[in-house]
């Protein structure tokens, strides 16, 4: 397998950075709570890319990175469940899923 030879680690990192910041921008800019949740998922997946890539390139004989990525996925699933439950409740309460309208918790 010559994946290492053809695609250097840098590319992986650049990819993860791109995915991370796309996710971050999604969280920062989009007003829809669901879309923001998707942004968070993207950021988590960017991390997963990093985990697997570093594991694969730097410590090919070990598996901690891969396992960590799996744990992150599990956490992401749980997190999505909680987040969606929250969003549904917010929708029931405020009849909106726009984050701008949900600002009760302030000074």
């Amino acid at each position: 397998m010559n994946l290492q030879a053809e695609i250097p680690l840098d590319y992986m990192i650049i990819l993860s950075i791109l995915v991370f910041f796309i996710g971050l921008m999604g969280v920062l800019i989009r007003r829809n709570l669901i879309t923001m949740l998707m942004g968070v998922e993207l950021m988590l997946n960017a991390v997963n890319i990093n985990f697997t890539a570093f594991n694969h390139y730097l410590f090919p004989h070990r598996l901690e990175g891969h396992f960590f990525a799996l744990i992150v996925m599990a956490i992401a699933a749980a997190e999505a469940a909680v987040a969606i439950a929250l969003i549904i409740n917010i929708y029931r309460q405020f009849a909106t899923v726009s984050v701008d309208d949900v600002d009760e918790l302030k000074f």
């Binding site: 969280v27 920062l28 007003r31 923001m36 984050v99 701008d100 600002d103 009760e104 302030k106 000074f107």
Partner: protein, 636 residues
């Protein structure tokens, strides 16, 4: 001779005070007066017995010895400075014991009649007992600090008694004024005690006045502004005495103190408490005479000025008690002058002897005057001489005793006032001719204003009284008669054998060259008063008109009160207290509030960050992480 029983003299009035004070509600009212008076008669008898045994003992080479009859340690302050409470018997204190207990007993007896039916009858006698206790404690003090303790107690009993009619605003104001003015003077006394005790390491009078003691024997070299430290200390102590004895310019409280019941004025503000200043100087006299002659000079001038000043004012007052108050000032001035012109030891100590002699006689005749005035006021229900006149028929006893007192204070032989005043004039003549001239003049003015008073009350025209005035009850006239007799005979007490500056007897000669002119000016004074006031006439008004400026100034007591009022109201209250209160509320507290408020304002300014917009928080968070990352990158 064992004098331990003198403790009873001191403690009996205290027990009476506590008993009457605590049981005031339970006791039958009439009993209070009887208990108080009985006690006073007991201690008066004891005091006279003490004086008799003391003065009839064989005087040794060193004259009468001072005896410490009783002494306990009250409070040790430093290793050397220890406050004792005790009883010191020497000629001076024994003489004072007799004066105080006798006059006090007479005043108690008189008060039974005078205060009858007044509210607070029990309280009155309780306070009188407290006063008697304090005054006795003051005169038998073995050390200067004990004296200061009782000095303050005397001040407070005076405060309580002046303010006896506490629902009368003028009485309240007068009592407050008396206390604060004397308190101010006591500050000087206290600082004087501090300086003196620090330099000498003792409070004890015996050490302070001992010829080999630290004050006289080892004169300190330390000086401050040209006067030795001892002189400063003694001057400050005199300030305390001047306050209590109402010397100019601390005299302003005494005329107002006449707001108290008249017997109180007789006891406290004529016979006993106000001479405490004289007593204080006399007590420390060896120290004054031998190590601080400059202080004595000051005392002489202050005394002389006060006696003249007060005599002039007395000529214009209409309130009979105030006339007597100013006359008291004037007479105490005499005593101070006598101390001021005196030297120490033997013949040189004539002034000292004369001063205490005058104190002795003055106590009787001034108490008599006040009690007589009280009797008149009791009958007429007014203090103003304009509302009196022609009382000689309706109040014969009061009239006669009052006349005796007037003749005594005017210095007509052979009444006691003549002898004591004559000794003072002799002493003054030998020391300073100017002072002699002033005192001689004051003797004339004294005769004049006393007889002005006498004629206005008992002669002149009879106004329309609401109730026909009648003679006072027996309990009031008996003290009058007793004091009148005392005023007559007190002059024959051989004082130069008993109370002298070095406690050794000496011989005095009688000087017609001094006595003649002083009798002459007294007679002139009396005749002038008779000419002006014996019958209704327009002459007094004409004279006061022709002297309008001086008369108005004297009538208004030379505006000293107004000056004080200005100092207290405008300077202390408005210019110090008010700004201090303002400063505290606005600057000091303002600073604290400012710190608090600026914290609140600061948090108000940044609380907008907590907007509730989740995305904003993420912005902060993300940029924070970014900044941290960059920092770490560049710092490494």
């Amino acid at each position: 001779m064992d004098y331990a029983y003198t403790l009873i003299i001191l403690l009996l009035p205290l027990v009476t005070f506590l008993g009457l004070g605590l049981l005031s509600k339970r006791l039958p009212v009439a009993l209070a007066g009887i208990i108080g008076t009985a006690n006073l008669f007991i201690i008066a008898a004891l005091s006279c017995a003490t004086a008799f045994t003391y003065f009839t003992q064989e005087a040794g080479e060193a004259g009468f010895e001072a005896i410490e009859a009783y002494k306990i340690t009250w409070l040790p302050l430093t290793d050397k400075l220890i406050i004792h409470l005790g009883i010191l018997l020497d000629p001076l204190s024994v003489m004072m014991l007799v004066v105080i207990t006798l006059v006090s007993a007479m005043v108690h007896l008189y008060s039974i009649g005078y205060m009858k039916g007044e509210k607070g009858y029990t309280r009155y006698f309780a306070f009188l007992s407290l006063f008697t206790f304090s005054m006795l404690g003051l005169v038998v003090a073995t050390n200067i600090f004990q004296m200061y303790i009782f000095w303050e107690l005397v001040g407070v009993s005076s405060y309580l008694l002046i303010g006896f009619y506490y629902q009368k605003p003028s009485a309240v104001a007068a009592s407050k004024k008396a206390f604060i003015v004397t308190r101010f003077a006591d500050l000087g006394f206290l600082v004087g005690i501090l300086i003196l005790s620090f330099n000498t390491g003792t409070f004890e009078f015996q050490t302070l006045t001992s010829l080999q003691g630290p004050v006289i024997g080892q004169a300190s070299t330390a000086a401050f502004m040209g006067l030795s430290v001892t002189t400063w200390a003694l001057l400050l102590i005199f300030m305390g005495g001047a306050g209590k004895s109402a010397m100019f310019p601390l005299h302003i409280w005494l005329p107002d103190a006449m707001e108290g019941p008249t017997p109180v004025s007789a006891l406290i503000h004529a016979a006993t408490m106000v001479v405490a200043g004289v007593y204080l100087v006399a007590r420390l006299f060896p120290a004054y005479a031998l190590s601080a002659p400059d202080a004595l000079t000051v005392i002489m001038y202050v005394g002389s000025f006060t006696s003249l000043f007060a005599a002039v004012i007395a000529c214009t007052q209409l309130d009979i008690k105030r006339v007597l108050a100013f006359s008291t000032l004037s007479q105490i001035g005499y005593m101070m002058v006598a101390l001021g012109v005196s030297g120490y030891g033997g013949e040189a100590g004539l002034g000292y002897m004369a001063s205490l002699f005058h104190l002795f006689t003055h106590a009787f005749f001034k108490a008599l005057l006040f009690l007589g005035a009280g009797s008149v006021i009791h009958a007429v229900h007014s203090n103003l001489m304009t509302e009196m006149g022609g009382l000689r028929k309706s109040m014969p006893v009061t009239h006669l005793t009052f006349l005796v007192a007037c003749l005594t204070i005017a210095g007509i032989p052979p009444l006691s006032g003549f002898f004591s005043k004559d000794e003072i004039l002799v002493a003054a003549f030998e020391h300073n001719k100017l002072i002699f001239a002033v005192q001689w003049l004051v003797a004339g003015i004294t005769a004049f204003y006393m007889f002005r008073l006498y004629f206005r009350i008992f002669w002149n025209q009879t106004p329309a009284y609401h109730h026909a005035p009648h003679e006072s009850p027996v309990v009031m006239t008996v003290p009058l008669m007793f004091l009148a007799i005392a005023s007559v005979v007190a002059g024959f007490v051989p004082f130069h054998d008993l109370v002298t500056s070095d406690n050794k007897p000496f011989e005095t000669a009688f000087h017609w060259s001094i006595a003649g002119p002083s009798i002459a000016i007294a007679v002139i004074g009396i005749l002038t008063a008779a000419w002006l006031y014996a019958r209704p006439s327009l002459r007094p008004d004409a004279i006061s008109k022709s002297l309008s400026g001086v008369y108005t100034a004297a009538y208004n007591k030379f505006y000293i009160d107004e000056i004080y009022l200005f100092i207290t109201k405008s300077i202390i209250f408005q210019f110090i207290s008010r700004p201090v209160a303002w400063f505290d509320r606005h600057i000091v507290d303002g600073t604290m509030n400012f710190i608090g408020n600026s914290t609140v304002a600061g948090s108000a300014a940044i609380k907008r960050m907590q907007s509730g917009h989740v995305q904003l928080y993420i912005w902060y968070f993300a940029s924070g992480v970014l900044v941290l990352a960059l920092l770490i990158l560049y710092l490494n």
